[in-house]
Symmetry: C2
Subunit: 333 residues, 2 copies
């Protein structure tokens, strides 16, 4: 920077001001500085700049399962807008309890980020106050977090739509593949969708039957395992609501391998769902990442930002994996 200043015949202060586009630099000086910087192919050291200014130009992103499709989409969406504004994105994967404890114990985000994005994570009070102690704005995707901005869908309503679809086809024995279990108080989405399942059945006068609800780890394997177990029941379900398309894929796999026929509805509209003809509830995931990042930017640049809330629509997408209860085989095509 000194070299540039010398070449342009100004002080480093003026160079700094020019390079950051501050207003009070004369056109003529600006030109000379830019040219000097260009000819020396100089770029500011982001690290020094961050130390001096106190702004990190980095946002922390906290996800529970980085490799799942949903989270990948969110992160990709957020990344696309952050990159555009040359903000760095620091990803933290808090999949298991130890990782979580380590994270909140050390709080490695301290002094490292200007804002935080959390994706489908529920926090305890202690964790929440740790987060707040960072002193930066927080935006949550997928669920409401007190004091934070929020981009989400109405999980309960959307899941209810899925169950209603099955009810509308005449199904009464409706199973659910869920990732929720009593130890995992950390999965608000799983909780909401499961609640919708229970309540929608109740509203339709269908008695709740615990053996039709499978709790499994997320992913295709989990879905396959859940469906296999459902099929071993004395009276298996005629339709199944899977908490996510990936679980549904596993369920379809189990059905294909066993040659059985059960209606399956998923949730998300994964990019491969069309190929597998999976009926599902579509939500625009990538876009939620984009919107959340936009909200983050607003939060970082607006001094008196107050949490915004965005509710995204969902759509029931009808495909060939669900059919009326009377029919025992899918009307393929």
């Amino acid at each position: 920077m000194e070299d540039v200043a010398r070449l342009a015949g100004v002080s480093t202060a003026t160079v700094s001001r020019t390079l950051r586009g501050l207003p009070n630099v004369s056109e003529e000086t600006r030109g000379r500085v830019l040219q000097a910087a260009e000819s020396l192919s100089y770029v500011v050291s982001p690290i020094a700049s961050r130390l001096a200014s106190g702004r990190t130009h980095t946002v922390g992103v906290i996800v529970p399962y980085a490799s799942r499709w949903f989270f990948g989409q969110i992160v990709a969406g957020a990344e696309s807008v952050l990159r555009e504004h040359s903000l760095d994105l620091l990803l933290y994967n808090l999949g298991d309890i130890p990782a979580r404890q380590r994270f909140f114990g050390q709080l490695p985000l301290r002094r490292r980020v200007d804002a935080v994005l959390t994706v489908a994570m529920q926090f305890t009070d202690a964790e929440m106050s740790a987060m707040r102690s960072l002193g930066v704005p927080i935006v949550a995707v997928g669920h409401h977090v007190p004091g934070a901005g929020c981009v989400r869908i109405d999980d309960v309503a959307a899941a209810a739509t899925a169950v209603q679809h099955l009810l509308g086809l005449g199904h009464k024995r409706i199973g659910m593949i869920s990732t929720y279990n009593d130890q995992s108080m950390f999965l608000p989405v799983a909780h909401a969708r499961r609640r919708a399942y229970v309540e929608t059945l109740a509203a339709a006068g269908v008695p709740f039957n615990g053996e039709l609800v499978m709790s499994v780890p997320h992913g295709m394997d989990g879905g396959e395992q859940a469906m296999r177990r459902l099929l071993t029941l004395a009276d298996p379900p005629t339709a199944v609501f899977a908490e996510s398309d990936e679980l549904a894929f596993g369920a379809l796999s189990a059905l294909r391998r066993t040659g059985r026929h059960v209606s399956v509805i998923g949730f998300d509209d994964h990019e491969l769902s069309a190929l597998l003809d999976l009926t599902t509830v579509r939500q625009r995931v990538f876009e939620q990442g984009v919107l959340a990042a936009g909200m983050l930017r607003r939060a970082m640049t607006t001094s008196d930002w107050s949490p915004e809330e965005l509710l995204m629509p969902t759509t029931l997408v009808l495909r060939a994996s669900t059919w009326p209860v009377a029919v025992r085989t899918p009307d393929a095509g």
Copy 2:
């Protein structure tokens, strides 16, 4: 840091030495410092530390298509080991020419990273010298880059295996779905697999037929489109080699929708390939990311590191999407 030093009754220098685990601090002092830091819940500012030490603790990762499965896996694999050593990962997506030009024009990695990981990218001489000017070690995944470390498979041999499999089933009219085209000199993998296709057919005495080779954009859509075009030929292929599983998924989709039957073999062993019963060539992608990150670490910590080369094995995975040429329908199951 000053507070900690005061509380522990030592200088900031000693605090710094203690917190970084340097050897020349007495056990007793170390204990006091650690306790003081603990009680003040103090963590060092990575930014100040980086400025002072000159080490960024960050590795730059350059990919052409961040959202594709393959690249996602590589990044996830690398991330898992980098995070473990508390190294940051800065992701750059250089999908299109403008992004690429901007990147090499500004070289935003300058002064920002201690090492670089490039994934399946080919560089021009100018780009290569720009990369070298960063003065940090480089590791490439998926293809050889002069002067850089390398983790890859033998693309030509693996693709040849796929084509030989089809030949072995008696197929002569073998199509290929490729992402290679003459403008995209930047896709070494596409190039290698296409070359293997041409050479393997030639070695088997099967004449090359240009109309059987489709060049499409990557992804399911591209695969679907390619297969549809192949099916409109007067004499369509009886088998198709897709450059990746995602392209193959698209091809399967087209086949399903048109009710036609063509053997399809993919490449990668995507996690959904088993569900779709896709014959494919398996490579361990996540692991390649892990190994590459390990190599990066070695490069960063070893003063006289010289590029290593790792060749990973591939396996032909037989499933139900390929069958002998005589039979016109798959022997499902």
